[in-house]
């Protein structure tokens, strides 16, 4: 298969070309419609990014502070969701009978948008901050759980046999054999979870009025300020990519080959 060699940097030029093409199209469309032009968005972006950490009271904070709130919510929710997902994934992966019995429920639950849970969660926990966190947990739980269970269930029988011969206790068996063997599947699940959590966080914050990037989108939408909304869209995308890259780097360190 022909792949670009690491030294071949022409793809960067191509990328730049696509970017310019996109901006050109955008500028052309904005000339004939009321969609804000790239320049007006850049101007708004400049204003927001010039003072990212101002604090004008509980309803108006700088974009840096708001991004911080979202990232904090993401890491807290993702950590809890991932731990729960891995734990139950291992339990189900090692118990084929239980896995089969619960699988239909898991499939139904993971098909539900975490935002759909929001009114019910808010009604039961009665705190919008905790609700937003639970939405993130819900979003990050299922992909990790399903992937972990699948990975654990498909570990080579030899590994388990060796562990049994060595008479490892159950905890050592999980830590030394099961988790490393299912590692790639788990990491793939975690990556999907991270993406899902980031996608869920924006509408959750917008609906709940919890400070963060979602709140920013909603507040600017209230003012029908489309340049600000487009700026927020771009920022959310870029932050999402950065998170994904960092996560891939981390995952690279955990990867192994048979």
């Amino acid at each position: 298969m022909a792949t670009a060699s690491p030294k071949d940097n022409r793809w960067m030029l191509l990328s730049l070309f696509f970017l310019l093409l996109f901006l050109g199209f955008w500028a052309l469309i904005s000339l004939n419609t009321k969609i804000p032009s790239p320049l007006s968005v850049a101007k708004v972006a400049g204003e927001f990014l010039a003072h990212p950490f101002y604090d004008n009271g509980p309803n108006d904070k700088g974009i840096g502070i708001l991004t911080g709130y979202s990232l904090l919510r993401l890491s807290a929710g993702f950590t809890v969701g991932a731990l729960l997902g891995i734990f139950w994934g291992v339990v189900l992966g090692l118990n084929p009978m239980l896995f089969k019995a619960l699988n239909p429920f898991i499939q139904i639950l993971r098909a539900i948008s975490p935002i759909a849970w929001m009114p019910l969660l808010l009604y039961s926990v009665r705190d919008s901050g905790v609700t937003a966190l639970l939405v993130v947990i819900m979003a990050s739980l299922w992909p990790t759980l399903a992937n972990t269970a699948f990975g654990v269930a498909h570990i080579k029988k030899d590994y388990i046999n060796v562990a049994n011969i060595l008479q490892l206790n159950p905890i050592a068996k999980v830590m030394k054999v099961v988790l490393p063997a299912a590692g790639p599947a788990i990491v793939a699940g975690l990556k999907i979870s991270m993406g899902a959590a980031w996608v869920a966080i924006v509408p959750a914050e917008a609906l709940l009025g919890s400070l963060g990037l979602g709140y920013f989108v909603w507040n600017e939408w209230n003012n029908l300020s489309l340049p600000s909304v487009i700026f927020a869209i771009l920022l959310i995308g870029i932050v999402g990519v950065v998170i994904d890259l960092l996560f891939s780097k981390l995952a690279g360190k955990l990867a192994y080959t048979d």
Binding site: N56, N59, R126, N219, E220, N223, L224
Partner: protein, 464 residues
């Protein structure tokens, strides 16, 4: 018989426990003499005395001064239970808190108050930057922006905020458990009167009245809103059935403007600045101000769980005073320009100053090429007339939001603290009549708060 708990005649019985069946609240009762002999004289603190007097007044009001039935009732259920029953009907704790002449320092100074970014809530919002909360000892009180009415309702019920900006039907609906779990709420003050409008898409400039609106899609901000009630009333008066001949959707106001621009909807009855915003965005025009339907109608209010007045009576009193002051300040035309500048920034309304000024000053382009000057486009008046509550309940019943028997007067008096607000207004030199039930003329049709059922029956279009 002396019916006033505040009377100063020497043999007043207002300070005896009204929940003791052995006690007579009338001044000449035989039972009273007996009870007085049997009981050592108690020294009441002033606070306890006022509290007692309030309870007596309410008990007398409930039993209409009929001491016989009061005693019979108390003997049957017991004093403590009676206090509970009557307390569950009347906002006893709120009234007690207000009757205390001197109040101590607020139990909580840094209150959290939820608001929706619309001009209706101007007094609640501007009271923070313009220092009205701080002036009444509530330094550190902050207003927090909520994303929508369902959200602010849940914030208030879950006590994530202490008090909240609400649509005037919301505390009634909450107390009755319509559209939510029943939670007793009180509304000490109305915020704005008037200030809403029917906005139509610019293609509908030839529309004259409801008869031309069949098949339209309208938006309102919430089911339990004056917007929904007024739009339904307006359409039905013109022979258009709001449930069958048009579509009415609940949509957040900024989305209404976006939808109007896209011509997904034909119009809306919404709070400002979103009517003026449609003109500003060249998407629509102001068809009719809500004051043309019912001059002086209530819209938004300042509400809180009834429990707040009980657990924090001093904070309750302080915030009530701050809100009444702020609302009166907003009602003065000369202050409106400063207020518009205070509430427009991103922390509060997040709207162009120009649009907020057009709304608050009442000098605005209507989208049809006219520049209108109507200083009463929006006004601010805190008085929560109980007849307003009865009208709202009558319309909730009319359109099927309330089923079965509605005890209009009791609900109105439990939720709308007219007497408390009237006292604060009188203390500020305003004259307020003693009767908190007024008659209204809405689109030429009279509403008599004494006969809400007859009023509902008089409509041709209804869901009862």
């Amino acid at each position: 018989m002396c019916t006033s708990p505040f009377c100063t005649c020497p043999n007043t019985k207002a300070f005896d426990d009204p929940f003791d069946p052995e006690v007579s609240l009338t001044h000449t009762g035989v039972g009273a003499e007996k009870a007085d002999e049997a009981r050592p004289v108690q020294a009441f603190s002033r606070e306890a005395a006022v509290s007692r007097a309030v309870e007596s007044a309410v008990v007398q009001a409930v039993f209409g001064g009929c001491d016989h039935s009061r005693r019979a009732f108390l003997q049957r259920v017991g004093g403590a239970a009676a206090l509970g029953i009557i307390g569950s009907i009347f906002p006893l704790d709120a009234i007690k808190a207000l009757a205390q002449e001197k109040s101590g320092p607020p139990e909580k100074k840094d209150l959290k108050i939820g608001f929706i970014p619309i001009t209706c809530g101007t007094p609640i919002i501007m009271a923070e930057p313009m220092g009205f909360y701080a002036k009444h000892g509530l330094a550190g009180t902050q207003v927090t922006k909520a994303a929508g009415w369902a959200m602010i309702r849940d914030w208030a019920v879950a006590k994530q905020v202490d008090c909240a900006h609400m649509l005037s039907p919301m505390p009634l609906a909450l107390t009755l458990g319509a559209g939510a779990e029943a939670t007793p709420f009180i509304m000490p003050a109305i915020e704005n009167i008037n200030g809403q409008a029917i906005t139509l898409h610019k293609d509908h400039k030839n529309v004259k009245g409801p008869q031309d609106m069949k098949g339209f899609t309208f938006c309102v901000p919430f089911d339990y809103s004056m917007h929904n009630m007024l739009l339904r009333y307006y359409l039905a008066e013109g022979g258009v059935d709001p449930d069958r001949d048009v579509k009415i959707r609940v949509v957040p106001p900024p989305e209404m403007v976006a939808n109007l621009k896209a011509k997904n909807i034909d119009g809306y009855l919404a709070p400002d600045p979103f009517n003026q915003r449609a003109v500003y965005e060249e998407a629509g025009f102001i068809f009719k101000l809500s004051k043309e339907l019912w001059p002086g109608h209530p819209c938004c209010g300042f509400a809180m769980p009834a429990e707040f007045a009980k657990t924090m009576p001093n904070s309750f009193k302080a915030v009530f005073n701050a809100i009444v002051d702020a609302t009166l300040y907003c009602s003065e035309a000369k202050n409106r320009k400063d207020i518009a500048a205070a509430v427009s920034p991103r922390n509060y309304l997040n709207q162009p100053l120009e649009v907020v000024e057009q709304v608050l000053l009442g000098q605005y382009p209507d989208g049809l090429g006219n520049n209108v000057n109507d200083p009463e486009r929006i006004d601010f008046n805190p008085m929560p007339w109980q007849s307003m509550a009865v009208w709202i309940l009558s319309q909730m019943k009319r359109w099927g939001y309330l089923k079965g028997e509605v005890n209009y007067k009791i609900v109105a008096e439990q939720v709308y603290l007219a007497a408390g607000c009237a006292d604060l207004l009188r203390a500020r030199g305003k004259s307020v009549p003693d009767n908190y039930y007024q008659k209204y003329k809405i689109m030429g049709k009279e509403f008599d708060p004494a006969d809400p059922e007859g009023y509902i029956a008089s409509f041709a279009i209804k869901r009862t």
